[in-house]
């Protein structure tokens, strides 16, 4: 903030002292006016429910009554109960695996489209969005058909004589959840990686080549570090929502594939303990946020690069 000393030519005008945001530029107010409708909307639709969940997590459920005295017993229970710990840990582990698998699969696809897509880039990107033309629920059911005991995978493997009896480790467990989530989130990972690879100046790759690097070194020393912003974005886009995924573990996870969101749903529903469910939800949010922040900090040297 600039400090101005009043002088004869430049007296401090009275209204200047009343400024709400002293450092705001002249255009600031019109900018604020411009963003206020979406701002109000997100305040209403995002911040308000969050605040409600947060409040709820500090209250207590006594059968039909809601005790509104602030307490942290829900959090204590959420943190100490073995079942919740297991579910929370499993959710994080599954999401981390999903994120790694998704990004590893998405990277070569994004790389291929960015470098070899030629004039057909738009078509490739369109093809990638095709899974979204059907609802998520239908895709989950399709995976059930593909991975099931009498499903497509087992049917073909049996038919070709590769296996004697149907594989059971691919459905109703964490593997099925990973496969389905990785497929569902792949496009969201491909797009940011594609964008960051496309933005790499091709003359940088030529410069690396000119300075003696073969294809692999060129990739490791130039392409990969410069596409890290896309990788970080893709990881966050996949990791954050999958921790709280509810449908996939419910339909494909069996009992050892259940995740924290399923427990939250139980608390809000059958168990009739919304405060505990809220505490679990807030805890999950805090954990996801902490992991994301640590992840971003670990990658900060790649993120500050200006193209």
């Amino acid at each position: 903030m600039r400090h101005e000393t009043p002088s004869e030519e430049n007296p401090v005008k009275p209204w200047r002292k009343l400024r709400f945001f002293p450092s705001m530029q002249p255009g600031g107010w019109s900018g604020l006016a411009l963003i206020s409708p979406p701002f109000a909307y997100s305040l209403l639709m995002l911040a308000a429910p969050l605040l409600l969940v947060f409040l709820l997590s500090m209250w207590t459920q006594n059968y039909l009554e809601l005790d509104r005295t602030f307490t942290i017993t829900n959090y204590k229970e959420a943190a100490s109960e073995k079942l919740y710990q297991v579910l929370m840990a499993r959710s994080v582990v599954i999401s981390v695996i999903v994120t790694i698998v998704t990004v590893l699969l998405a990277y070569p696809i994004a790389y291929y489209i960015a470098f070899f897509g030629g004039k057909r880039k738009a078509i490739w990107l369109l093809l990638i969005t095709i899974p979204f033309w059907t609802s998520y629920l239908i895709r989950v059911f399709l995976w059930k058909v593909i991975l099931g005991y009498n499903g497509v995978v087992n049917g073909s493997l049996l038919g070709m004589g590769f296996i004697e009896e149907p594989l059971t480790f691919i459905l109703y467990n964490a593997n099925a959840v990973v496969i389905t989530l990785a497929h569902a989130w792949a496009p969201f990972a491909i797009l940011p990686i594609f964008v960051s690879i496309s933005r790499i100046d091709k003359s940088l790759l030529e410069a690396a080549r000119d300075l003696g690097d073969g294809p692999l070194r060129r990739f490791l020393r130039v392409t990969l570090p410069l596409s890290m912003p896309g990788v970080v974005a893709a990881s966050l886009i996949v990791f954050i929502p999958t921790v709280g995924d509810y449908v996939t573990p419910r339909l494909l996870g069996g009992t050892d594939g259940l995740m924290i969101a399923n427990m939250i749903q139980i608390q809000f529903g059958k168990a009739n303990n919304a405060p505990l469910g809220s505490a679990l939800a807030v805890s999950a949010m805090v954990i996801v946020a902490s992991i994301s922040i640590v992840f971003v900090l670990l990658n900060r040297r790649f993120l500050k690069v200006k193209g």
Binding site: D201, S203, L204, E206, A207, R209, D213, F302
Partner: protein, 367 residues
Amino acid sequence: MKRPQKTNKQIINIKGVEKQFGDVTALNGVSLTIKEGEFFSLLGPSGCGKTTLLRMISGFDSPNLGSVYIDGSDMTNVPPNQRPTNMVFQSYAIFPHLNVAENVGYGLKKQKLPKDEIKLRVEEALALVDLEGYGAREAHALSGGQRQRVALARALIMKPKVLLLDEPLSALDKKLRETMQGELRKLQRTVGITFVLVTHDQEEALTMSDRIAVMFDGKIAQLDTPEGLYKRPKTKRVASFIGVMNFIPAKVIASTKTKLSLDVEALGKVDVGASDTIKSGEKITVGIRPEMLTILYEETDDADNVFSGIIVSASYYGDMTYYEVELGNTAIRATVSMRNTAGRPVLRAGTETRIGWGYESITVLDG
């Protein structure tokens, strides 16, 4: 990093190189040799194939026909990372995720040198381009001129046999460009490495190079020293690309073993050096540079030849004035440049003057 200065050894030998991109012919039979330690320029208008030729030498493109030899070995099918050449890119291609020292040391890392030696050589290279102490600077915090120096240091640290520069100065403003021209020339003399520079700026090529290849339409139109190109351009096109030239039609009166006798329009009869290709009776074009024509301000001023003219227009450039002059009683117009020395007036349009010129200032042009 000092190396032996110019020898007569050939370092680059390009033989009959052709290159097509689809139906565009970028190079149409280019052959040339570049000598070791030479500052060589490829000069030509946009799209004439300069960059393509440079990329043939660096290995980023391969010819459809012909071959490229560097230091005696056939490099036609050798990839860029295995050629003894390094490139300064037009955009400089500074790695944005690395700092200055990491950029400059990039190519050394692969050579498994001890850390201390890399550090030492990076400092040496930075000192060479006047960037001592900039090692820790982030790439995005550099000015255009500094980026250019980093790109130079990064290429020179590899001790290439040939340094290739694709319009390295075109992104800089005029003042900085002129400073860098001098520095680049000085740097080339210090390191003694062969420089091949691509440019479309004739002034840049003239001031920096030992030899220049002028290219048009994928072919080399003329290869000569800067002085040779300026004084003895072979064609009208080369003549008008390098500086300003007045073109005047002429008729060949006689072509003998010793001389060519011409009747130049408006200027009269002139004898010039003999030519094998030009025959008696042929109609040709001769060129004369603006500075070879002199306005005779005083009655007493004299020259080999004098004719009268009328000034059509005058353009004042500070140090020089360019006059458009209509040559005595003809429709031919010529540009005359005069240095604005003390006491010399700038003449107005419509003034009648006497103009003097010397026989040796006439250049015979093909086509």
